[in-house]
């Protein structure tokens, strides 16, 4: 009889524990990407090893399926970035994303014909627009709805290369160039786009990304306030021809959950918002709408410490003890009744 009691107790505890271990209870909608809450600083620099820094190991990557953008011209007819692995952490004030995707070649653009690899993450400015809010793609309204403002962080390999290796000027691109004299090289008037205030034309790039806003296709605008960081690293392919591990990009983006800028997204702990991804393969001359994109995805910003999740310990133990007590009580009652019958 003691053995039966013990067995029932173990089964009951196991069942309760299994049902409770996992994600924190949220709304009814399942999240595609879960931002795990951690305490302390978030990693903002890509670690140089093959594995991301330890903090990221608490997360499970969400492998996001990408597809060719075929809604507006110019289109990409066949995707060249199949999946992007996304991990996310937050510390209650900041949120960080680690994004990895395979790319056989590192492209930093340059010259008249070169294009660069890049990746963008996009959020609705109005929080809580998930699932499937009233807009698609880059804030294009559907079925007569108004367009919606979206907030975009676009990391670019060419901008990062400029920060790491210096501004790429004409003599870097064409070392054999022979020009006797240029007038007034320092004047922005003669660097026409820079003189006009185009941020992309600046020879003093400070960050390897842009923060942008859009309200539909073709409306992208750079924002002055960045309030974010982004940094990427390319990992060359490894192995032999028989067994090759393809090269890949790893990019980390960090940003505050809340912002005073009304054109920035606002995220709240414990709530769901939307996120969408876009990736460009420079080797395939991808730029603008010629890109691989994800659907709008659910992003859950967890507010519980999941490294040692309290609920996953207390709740199962309490439940198990209760179950054990109830079962024990029943067994005991049955035993007493049987003994009396004898």
């Amino acid at each position: 009889m003691n053995k039966l009691y013990l067995l029932l107790l173990i089964v009951a505890m196991g069942a309760v524990a299994l049902t409770m271990i996992g994600r924190a209870p949220m709304g009814a909608t399942a999240a595609d990407i879960v931002s795990i809450y951690v305490e302390g600083d978030l990693p903002s620099v890509v670690s140089t090893g093959d594995e991301p820094s330890k903090l990221w190991q608490r997360t499970t990557p969400a492998n996001i399926q990408m597809s060719a953008q075929r809604t507006t011209q110019p289109m990409l007819m066949e995707t060249s970035v199949g999946t992007v692995a996304v991990r996310s952490l937050n510390n209650g004030e900041q949120i960080a994303f680690l994004l990895e995707w395979e790319d056989a070649t590192k492209n930093i653009g340059g010259g008249v014909t070169g294009y660069r690899d890049s990746l963008a993450i996009q959020f609705p400015v109005v929080a809580g627009n998930h699932p499937f809010s009233d807009f698609i793609c880059m804030g294009v309204g559907i079925e007569g709805e108004e367009t919606s403002l979206v907030d975009i962080i676009h990391w670019r390999a060419d901008l990062q290369d400029e920060i790491e290796n210096g501004y790429v000027d004409i003599e870097d691109l064409f070392p054999n160039l022979g020009i006797t004299l240029y007038p007034d090289l320092d004047s922005a008037i003669f660097r026409t786009a820079e003189g006009a205030g185009n941020p992309l034309a600046s020879s003093a790039k400070l960050v390897p990304f842009e923060r942008l806003k859009a309200v539909g296709f073709g409306t992208l605008e750079s924002k002055q306030a960045l309030e974010a960081t982004a940094w990427g690293q390319y990992f060359e392919s490894q192995g032999t021809a028989d067994e090759i591990e393809p090269g890949y990009w790893r990019v980390i983006v960090t940003m505050p959950l809340a912002s005073d800028d009304v054109s920035n997204t606002q995220m709240k702990l414990g709530e769901m918002t939307s996120i969408a991804l876009a990736a460009w393969d420079g080797d395939n001359d991808e730029v603008d709408g010629k890109k691989s994109v994800s659907a709008w995805l659910g992003l859950e910003v967890q507010k519980t410490i999941t490294s040692i999740p309290l609920y996953s310990i207390i709740v199962p133990i309490t439940a198990a003890l209760t179950a054990a007590f109830v079962i024990g009580f029943i067994i005991r009652r049955v035993t007493i009744v049987r003994q009396k019958d004898k």
Binding site: R70, T72, Q73, P74, M75, L76, M77, G110, G111, V112, T113, V168, D169, I170, L173, F174, L177, I179, Y182, P183, L185, F190, R191, T192, A193, E194, G195, A196, G197, N198, L200, A201, S203, F217, G218, T219, L220, D285, V287, D288, G289, K290
Partner: protein
């Protein structure tokens, strides 16, 4: 896709935007017959607009030797191959324009891009004047009109400020615009994000990417000058006096006393370059009368024979107007010809100049008896 009317093709054609013609259209007439290939126009343009770092390869104005030259190299041959065959049925083009030839994806019936084109390589931008003066054909001991056996000619090229610009059609963020007041096509230097869709789409390859600012630049039609009644630098600097700038109207609104309207719509002596591309370009050429007609018809369309005929045997009006080429920096809004004198008038109908068909000449004896000296030739 909207259907717009293209008078150069004599038919409707597809274009991403509705037809919206400007109040007046920037236009330049190039008389190929007079060009000596001195490149003064190219230098005038470069010294004015493209002398800075990053603009080295930018020859907004270039003069290339035909049939072999081209800047960027092979620009027209490459595009003609992409567009496939097409014929002129009388004066109607039955082939596909750069907008119509955008090949749909077979499965989805979608076009990846709005315009057919390609981005020239660095190598193709290397030689602004490749095959300079190189003739085609064989020397047969004589050179006679109507077609020389051994031939070449200079082709003067600037942005065509097209009525239906390929660059504008291809730009996904409307960073390129065509001004309503004068039809000049410009790249918004602040809005451009360097996608280079315009580089790919412009059939004449006259939008150019500046690698050290990551933005595309192009010929601006010297708008600071034209807004003030002065012709563009390349027009004014022309040593051979082959160019005339003016404001063109559509055929239905043609004004016979407007010099460019007269040359294009009335006398039909000036023809667009590659009208079959479908952009309705607004630089017009008086074809070289010595070059083989099939070659010229490919470049300038079915009006070549009539244009050369008219140019070879001009009436007084045409002869007088040709005399006004290169005579003034001012934009000629109206002209008149009478008593073998051509007159030019500005925007306010003020007389700019009069030019007689034949300049008065004086013959002075070699010996000057007054001073008892011999005269020396001063020229």
């Amino acid at each position: 896709m909207p259907k717009v009317s293209n008078w150069q093709l004599n038919r409707k054609m597809e274009f991403p935007y509705e037809e919206a013609r400007p109040d007046k259209q920037f236009a330049v007439i190039m008389n190929i017959n007079r060009c000596i290939g001195c490149q003064t126009c190219s230098m005038a343009d470069k010294n004015t607009w493209t002398f800075s770092k990053g603009q080295e390869f930018m020859w907004w104005n270039n003069v290339e030797s035909r049939p072999y030259g081209g800047y960027p190299q092979h620009w027209d041959v490459k595009l003609l191959k992409m567009l496939g065959s097409g014929k002129w049925q009388s004066d109607v083009f039955d082939g596909k324009t750069i907008f119509e030839a955008a090949v749909p994806d077979v499965e989805e019936d979608q076009q990846a891009e709005r315009v057919v084109g390609y981005i020239p390589t660095d190598e193709e931008w290397r030689f602004p004047n490749i095959y300079e003066d190189t003739p085609a054909g064989d020397w047969v001991g004589t050179t006679e009109l109507p077609e020389h056996q051994m031939w070449m000619f200079y082709l003067q090229r600037i942005c065509n400020h097209c009525t239906y610009p390929g660059c504008l059609a291809a730009c996904p963020r409307q960073a390129i615009y065509k001004r309503k007041e004068d039809g000049i096509v410009l790249v918004d230097q602040k809005r451009c994000r360097g996608y280079r869709k315009c580089n790919k789409a412009c059939p004449y390859k006259k939008t150019m990417f500046r690698a050290n600012t990551n933005v595309t630049e192009k010929c601006i039609a010297c708008y600071p000058r034209t807004e003030n009644g002065t012709a563009p630098r390349c027009v004014v600097a022309c040593v051979g006096k082959i160019r005339l700038h003016g404001w063109l109207h559509s055929p239905a609104k043609s004004e016979a006393d407007n010099p460019v309207d007269y040359l294009v719509h009335e006398a039909k002596v000036a023809l667009p370059l590659y009208p079959q591309f479908g952009t309705e370009p607004n630089v017009y050429y008086i074809p070289p009368r010595w070059a083989p007609r099939p070659f010229l018809r490919q470049l300038f369309g079915p009006g070549v024979d009539a244009a050369i005929g008219k140019y070879t045997d001009p009436d007084d009006t045409l002869f007088g107007l040709l005399k006004l080429f290169g005579t003034t920096e001012k934009i000629i809004r109206r002209f008149s010809v009478g008593n073998q004198i051509a007159s030019a008038f500005d925007e306010n109908d003020r007389l700019i100049l009069r030019s007689p068909f034949k300049e008065p000449s004086f013959v002075r004896p070699a010996y000057d008896a007054t001073y008892d000296v011999d005269r020396f030739n001063e020229t």
